[in-house]
């Protein structure tokens, strides 16, 4: 029997014009040995939650640059709960001001990586959450 692989969905909600950051994170996580599902730009909360369900992921990483996180993230968390995916670890990154972080954490978002975070920080976070010991 092989050990279960950690599967992570990297998703981009809303109307961002580019996904460079999301791709950099997706690649870094792949290179750290995770299975990363990337779904591309302009996803609705429903699409993200449904992809998380079908792919049976352990974690969802949300990347957002548009400033709409306070509108979109609550909807994503709601759609995840509606599918009984409360156990999925959600983390986020992009252009998210520090003052919004407490509100996002209250929503159940485990960690927010603001501008300047390194991919190593993200890898370490995921490793810690899913270490088997």
């Amino acid at each position: 029997m092989s050990e279960p692989k950690v599967r992570i969905l990297i998703a981009k909600p809303g109307l961002d014009g580019h996904d460079r950051g999301a791709k950099v994170v997706a690649r870094a996580l792949r290179d750290a040995g995770f299975e990363v599902i990337y779904t591309g730009l302009r996803q609705t909360p429903e699409m993200i939650a449904e992809a998380a369900l079908q792919e049976d992921v352990d974690a969802v990483g949300l990347s957002i640059l548009s400033g709409a996180h306070m509108t979109l993230f609550p909807k994503i968390m709601q759609e995840l709960r509606r599918r009984e995916l409360e156990k999925v670890v959600v983390f986020a990154g992009g252009i998210i001001p520090d003052e919004d972080v407490p509100a996002l954490e209250a929503l159940g978002i485990a960690k927010v990586f603001g501008p300047g975070s390194s991919t190593q920080d993200i890898i370490q976070f995921v490793r810690q959450r899913f270490s088997t010991d």
Binding site: M1, R30, G33, T39, G40, E55
Partner: protein
């Protein structure tokens, strides 16, 4: 209700969980698969293979959309390669299919190849069985970008679609051996590009050269599509339906199912024998043989023979 029952009732969350168990080859998955097996064998399994960049994902999306319009439910298993270095994988096939993720009649699952070669993951066949048992009617299996040797899909699928695109280099070179022989349907995708007609003509002339089945046998059609614009898709669906009808009518389906069954039995037997042998092997003998192999005192085949000599029931 247990997971197996929920899968049989088409519960999507349970299906997703079951697919993960199957992928990690857990003991629980084996039991579950045994319980699901009598409920498999209903879906039309369609393989989509071809070189990287030929448009397999987009074609799978377009075909799934058209199948849905015709009222059929669709499962998609999309395989991408795992990194041989990190063991990680970047699975991007959903990018082209996201429009379908709001449709309850579609279930899409990305799979990493996890070190298995041949264009599929080791667990792909079992994943297809789970989707089949969950009641989906057509299951599209998209392989890793394939060259000449990735032909495993032909053993898993009822109908194999080989996708080509003009401008990928020498199209015919790319499919001269393996892929050419496994196609039930050829698709020249990106047919709005220069060179599409030449690719079609080349494929047709190669087909006429091969000792293709005559009489009531199946003759692989060569179709043109522009998957991004969903052009040529209804002809593709017609060909899929025609091939499915041919398989059923000619008895070829039973033949293929039997062949697949034999293949799976052989593989299971091999894995089980290996497992049982390994747990019984004397550790000292094992280490000694490893050392002798390293010292070039014995070759691996002879070493295996010597190991098996200690099991009287396995004598030649």
């Amino acid at each position: 209700m247990d997971l197996v029952q929920q899968v049989l009732m088409g519960n999507r969350r349970a299906t997703a969980r079951m697919l993960s168990l199957v992928e990690s080859n857990s003991p629980q998955a084996r039991q579950a698969l045994a319980a699901l097996y009598p409920h498999t064998g209903r879906a039309h399994i369609v393989g989509i293979t071809g070189p990287p960049g030929s448009g397999k994902s987009t074609l799978a999306f377009a075909a799934a959309k058209a199948l849905r319009a015709g009222g059929q439910t669709v499962g998609i298993v999309a395989v991408d390669p795992s990194s041989p270095f990190s063991g990680g994988a970047l699975l991007g096939d959903r990018i082209r299919m996201q429009e379908l993720s709001r449709d309850e009649g579609v279930f899409i699952r990305s799979m990493a190849s996890r070190g298995h070669y041949g264009g599929l993951a080791l667990a792909t066949g079992d994943a297809v069985k789970v989707l089949d048992a969950s009641g989906l009617q057509v299951i599209l299996v998209e392989t890793v970008g394939a060259g000449q040797g990735e032909v495993e899909i032909a053993r898993q699928a009822h109908t194999t679609i080989v996708v080509e695109a003009p401008g990928l280099g020498d199209e015919i070179q790319a499919i001269k051996a393996g892929l050419f022989e496994i196609a039930d349907i050829f698709v020249v995708n990106k047919a709005d590009r220069v060179g599409a007609d030449a690719a079609v003509a080349a494929l047709k002339s190669m087909l006429s050269l091969s000792d293709a089945p005559t009489g009531d046998g199946w003759k692989p059609p060569v179709l043109k599509t522009v998957a991004t614009r969903e052009e040529g898709i209804s002809a593709l669906l017609d060909a899929m339906t025609a091939h499915w009808a041919y398989l059923q009518g000619s008895g070829e389906r039973q033949l293929r199912d039997r062949r697949r069954g034999e293949e799976e039995l052989r593989r299971a037997l091999g894995a089980e024998l290996l497992q049982r042998t390994l747990v019984r092997v004397d550790a000292q003998l094992w280490e000694g043989l490893l050392e002798e192999i390293a010292q070039r005192q014995i070759d691996p085949h002879a070493a295996a023979e010597r190991l098996l000599e200690s099991y009287p029931m396995l004598e030649r």
